[in-house]
Symmetry: C2
DNA sequence: GTCTATAGGGCGATAGAC
DNA sequence: GTCTATCGCCCTATAGAC
């Protein structure tokens, strides 16, 4: 039904398509639709294979490997699934982005990647306060890389963009590692604004 | 209606409370409920003041300040709103976390923070590929800090936790900045797993 | 497969604030 | 007069229960 839903949502818009119509185009009944999918949105987000793939690939990374690098291996495993289906992925992405309800669900899926990733990282021995941080940030990096990959007219490799994005992160946050700086001026500005409402 | 919704969702669970009941407890009708809120979930996420506050505070940071530090000032402005209402915030957070529909909406709100932040960063002169990255990662950092703040039994300052989390980020990703490493072993593992399904 | 409650939109009426 | 908040009634589709 995935394909039927994509077509109909693309043509008429998510809200103007009923679950029954999607089912019908796929030669099924409305009842069957809701048997397969918990709700209408799920047609385009069937299950969470990618989250599972991500977690599995990270778990599979060799023992010695640093957490970040295990994560990169995981993201690359996910990237590999997208790589050869660029047009189909882009088409689906366009439909999702055009509809808030679907964007919302997409975010929820990404969040579940994070959760799964976090669990695996803890399993690999990364202490918990850091595991969540690495997991959340890694998924954020993936999100950005994914967007760059879709936007880039040329067919650059998603895996390469992921690594590049990650490297850019190091650059952006390089200065902050040492410790807190003098931000009193910035804070004063924010405080001023805060007080006048 | 915010308060009425919080109570009812907390007592009976989101799904077992109708919009009409929430409205009624607030002395209004169902129709009015839907005039105020686009959908039932929105009762707990009224508008997007915090996203606006974040964007405004970042925009207000002095010109010379580095992007990351402007963002920190912004996150601290948001933190200040939470700081003195810890119990109320925690109560709302518990209700949201208990219900997937509400968690989903929360993620959508956070995503809109990202979008707003990205725009402001571009306005501050940060080139676009980096702006989205910084915005997404900053919000991820906030999410993690927020969680730590809520989990921490002691009433540690959210602002401090944010800066600490950010510093931890520098540590986690320190090694990756130089460039891609040899991940062939990890990739081989992932590829093997990929091929057997 | 059938039945039903609820979400949520359309349209229009009313009433107070300015 | 306009603008805005409230409410009434009718409708369809979602999604759960049976």
């Amino acid at each position: 039904m995935h394909e039927a839903a994509l077509e109909l949502f693309g043509e008429r818009g998510y809200a103007r398509v009923t679950a029954a119509e999607v089912a019908e185009r796929a030669g099924l009944t409305e009842r069957t639709f809701f048997r397969h999918f918990a709700d209408k949105r799920e047609v385009l987000f069937d299950g969470n294979e990618l989250g599972g793939l991500l977690a599995a690939a990270v778990a599979d990374a060799p023992e010695g490997v640093a957490p970040v690098e295990a994560v990169v291996a995981g993201l690359e495993a996910v990237a590999a699934v997208f790589e050869d289906r660029r047009e189909a992925v882009a088409r689906r992405a366009r439909v999702v982005e055009a509809h808030p309800e679907l964007r919302e669900r997409e975010l929820a899926k990404l969040a579940s990647w994070s959760k799964a990733l976090e669990g695996v990282l803890v399993g690999r021995g990364l202490p918990e306060p850091d595991a969540m941080l690495l997991a959340e940030v890694s998924v954020a990096v993936f999100r950005v890389a994914y967007r760059r990959w879709l936007d880039g007219g040329t067919a650059r490799e998603l895996a390469a963009i992921i690594r590049e994005t990650l490297a850019g992160l190091g650059g952006l946050f390089a200065h902050t590692a040492p410790g807190p700086r003098d931000l009193s001026a910035a804070r004063a500005g924010a405080a001023a604004r805060r007080s006048d409402r």
